[in-house]
Symmetry: C2
Subunit: 295 residues, 2 copies
DNA sequence: CACACTTACGATATTCGTAAGGATT
DNA sequence: AATCCTTACGAATATCGTAAGTGTG
């Protein structure tokens, strides 16, 4: 029994005419006749009873008809579903991104993506760097945006941009007037840091300890928003990924370039190595690269 | 997308090896490779990602896999179901028969049928002659056993046997000692008749009225059993299809051949003309012919 | 170099369409 | 005579298997 044969049966059963059915199938009448015949032979009995002047279903044909309708419909739906997935008319992508990225560039990329592919469902997970890696490893998400990890065992890393960290200081602070700052300028102020565990926090601690000893953390939060507010209230200073510049200024804090030394870290896309990513994930990746390049 | 292609995909997706899958499918590796390739082309994207050393599913392949499993299972089940119907391993027949037949020969035929085809569900409707015809006409049953009707518009009639009516008299009656009886012998006794409407009743009335005027009905029932009991209790006499002989004698009545004139009527199978009957119905018909011939 | 998938190509099978045949209205 | 399905047959198409090719561990 083949799909063609079943379609042939369905067409004849519905029109009760080989002639009409053959037109509908874009097939010659004899070819249709043969198809039905071989179908009947493969099943071991007649499905249709043809007198020269009329066509009718046998009881067995009546048994098959509703089932055949369902099988063909299922078949066509499946084909359509897959095509939609490939043409990005349907599908889902899950992406995880570290908070600084999720709050800045990701929405821009998502907007561009959604404009191109409005029917793709995108799930965003705004989690700390380590969890992004974990979610990619556990197949929880297809894509991740992270600070370049030291070990990317089993992961493919695609750099998006180089993140240069910036100092965040109260608008009223004397530090706000400088063109650029050094670590030594900041360490005299109370420091507001991201709570551990956090890749940004670790990066900062390592950067500081190399030149000035321990980071003097006065306050901690795991929310960038909270840090921004604390700074703008004059509670202290902080250092955040440059991506957060706009967000911080919107919260009333001032951002100043941080040099001596610069704190830099590549940010990029990760996905499981060895597996291909879906067409939808590929399209989203491209949009992310596009958006980060533009900036 | 063809069945073969989907089976090929399923085999590869489950074993994650073209080599193993090709063995399982009894197909050469290159043929399998081609099948998958054309499937992917027809759907518009890759389902499997092959490095030279390993095979894995793409996201789209993962979407298809569970659906493919279901489609193939449905397909195979349907094929199996139809084959079972044709080989009489599965199916149902509905048959309607007039009471005298349903109570006598039909069970014998059913026994023989069930011995041959234990998995066919048979529904029996024990109804009066007119209802048998009606049920066949309304597609309520495929087969009917009736006294040969005058009009068989749209019906195919297959004679089973000639029913010769017999007189039923109380064992204690003087009539019980005769070898055969005539209508005139019976009409002196109270007559117990089947209730109208009944083909047997009509047949008797017509037969009598041609020679002796009206049938002097003293009692009526629509149950043969009741008539048998009434006769055996000495309430009167009756005339029933010869098929009921055993049943009547079992109820304590005596049966005597009825001549002068003989009342005869062909009993046969009917089914809707123009439609074929199911394999199961055909087999049951054959058993009925076999059983009625044997008698 | 051994293994696993792909490409190339000739052979085989299926399927198709045209033409002729048979039956019914 | 017209219509509708079936059979017959040569042609196009698809599928298959063998053999050679390619890339990886």
């Amino acid at each position: 029994m083949s799909i063609k044969q079943l379609r042939a049966f369905l067409a004849v059963a519905q029109s009760l005419s080989f002639a009409q059915a053959s037109q509908h199938l874009h097939l010659s009448q004899p070819a249709l006749s043969l198809a039905i015949k071989t179908l009947e032979e493969s099943l071991g009995g007649a499905l249709l009873v043809r007198t020269t002047r009329s066509v009718a279903l046998t009881r067995e044909g009546e048994v098959l008809l509703p089932i055949a309708r369902r099988l063909i419909a299922d078949w066509d739906n499946t084909e359509e579903l897959l095509r939609q997935h490939f043409t990005l008319k349907l599908g889902r992508v899950a992406i995880a991104a570290l908070p600084s990225f999720a709050a800045s560039l990701l929405p821009v990329a998502l907007k561009a993506f959604r404009d191109c592919h409005p029917d793709i469902n995108v799930t965003v997970h705004d989690v700390v760097n380590e969890q992004v890696v974990e979610m990619v490893r556990n197949h929880r998400v297809e894509l991740g945006v992270v600070l370049e990890p030291e070990s990317l065992e089993g992961l493919d890393f695609t750099p998006l941009y180089l993140d240069r960290f910036i100092a965040v200081v109260p608008a009223a602070s004397r530090l706000a007037s400088y063109e650029e700052l050094q670590w030594s300028d900041l360490l005299s102020e109370p420091f507001i840091a991201l709570q551990r565990p956090s890749a940004v926090r670790t990066l900062l601690e390592n950067s500081v300890s190399a030149h000035h000893g321990r980071l003097p953390v006065a306050f901690e939060s795991h929310q960038l928003v909270t840090i921004g507010r604390m700074v703008s209230q004059g509670l202290g200073v902080s250092v955040v990924p440059s991506l957060c510049l706009q967000q911080m200024e919107a919260l009333g804090a001032r951002c100043v370039a941080l040099n001596q030394p610069r704190v830099e870290q590549r940010v990029g896309l990760i996905h499981l190595a060895g597996t291909t990513i879906s067409a939808a994930a590929k399209a989203l990746s491209e949009k992310l690269i596009e958006v980060t390049d533009k900036r």
